[in-house]
């Protein structure tokens, strides 16, 4: 069961209508290393990992849903006042033809999200290493996005998300150590 809270995890403000940047940000909405992939990956893996790390996957997966909402808010705010012509000029003509200003789960190049982006191996170490890699790739993507905008409000929200990837990666690394320790202990007894 999930409870919705009518607030963003961190404020999202944008300084101007910017369709060009919205197109790039969609990478973190429905791209391979984006927030949708992250949330669905962890919330799906949690069923078959050892008890000691279920809580971590459950909670990070839940936080990713809040990040998905932040990215959606950025895209929504950056495009809501755009004209059809602006959408087309900034590379979202094909998106506009299909979706108007509605959001859609795809990457920056318009490729729809696919479950093949994520894995659940049934091997906790393999799953956690994938999760660490996913966080590091998302961190890098946020850096590239920050490099592509001069909107200080947008940079602020993107920096928050970049930092969260670092924290999640750290927690997953600790989870790996916890499982390794447990494995060693079992060998002793």
């Amino acid at each position: 069961m999930w409870i919705y809270e009518k607030k963003l995890q961190y404020p999202v403000r944008v300084s101007k209508c910017d369709v060009r940047m919205a197109k790039f940000l969609i990478e973190q909405y429905g791209g391979a290393d984006g927030e949708l992939a992250a949330a669905l990956r962890y919330l799906n893996q949690r069923y078959t990992v050892p008890d000691k790390v279920i809580g971590l996957l459950n909670d990070i997966g839940t936080e990713e849903l809040a990040h998905l909402e932040m990215i959606a808010t950025m895209v929504y705010k950056l495009t809501k006042d755009a004209t059809a012509e602006e959408m087309e000029r900034c590379g979202l003509g094909a998106h506009y033809a299909n979706h108007d200003k509605a959001l859609f789960y795809g990457n920056a190049a318009g490729v729809p999200w696919t479950a093949t982006y994520i894995q659940a191996k049934g091997d906790p170490i393999a799953d956690l290493y994938e999760d660490i890699a996913a966080e590091e790739k998302a961190r890098a993507t946020y850096q590239w996005l920050i490099n592509m905008t001069d909107d200080t409000d947008l940079k602020d929200s993107l920096s928050f998300l970049r930092e969260r990837e670092i924290v999640h990666s750290q927690r997953f690394r600790e989870a790996v150590e916890i499982l390794k320790e447990e494995r060693e202990r079992k060998k002793v007894f």
Binding site: I3, Y4, E5, K6, K7, L8, Q9, Y10, P11, V12, V53, G55, L56, D59, I60, E63, E69, A72, T73, Y76, K77, V167, H168, R171, E174, A175, I178
Partner: protein, 86 residues
């Protein structure tokens, strides 16, 4: 019930700040379950968060539904603004 304005953004920010500490401690405690100081800080922040939300909801309507907040009359939950609109 006011829409936004007045202290809406300031009060919301205070909630976001304390809830951020809560999430951060929550994740940390998942891998450090015996850190007593962190647990104490977590519980303190939960108390603070409950107070801040009670105050915010009295002014601007419920932050949660599904039985986690009381509703005034008429039913307030479906009313704007939603988070991406502010």
């Amino acid at each position: 019930m006011k829409k936004t304005g007045d202290n809406y953004y300031d009060l919301l920010l205070e909630i976001q700040q304390v809830d951020f500490v809560i999430i951060e401690l929550n994740l940390y405690l998942n891998t450090h379950p015996n850190d007593q100081a962190a647990i104490a800080q977590y519980n303190e922040c939960v108390q603070r968060s409950i107070q801040l939300k009670r105050n915010f909801e009295a002014l601007y309507g419920p932050l949660t539904s599904f039985g986690y907040s009381f509703s005034p009359t008429p039913w307030q939950w479906g009313k704007a603004p939603w988070p991406w609109q502010v």
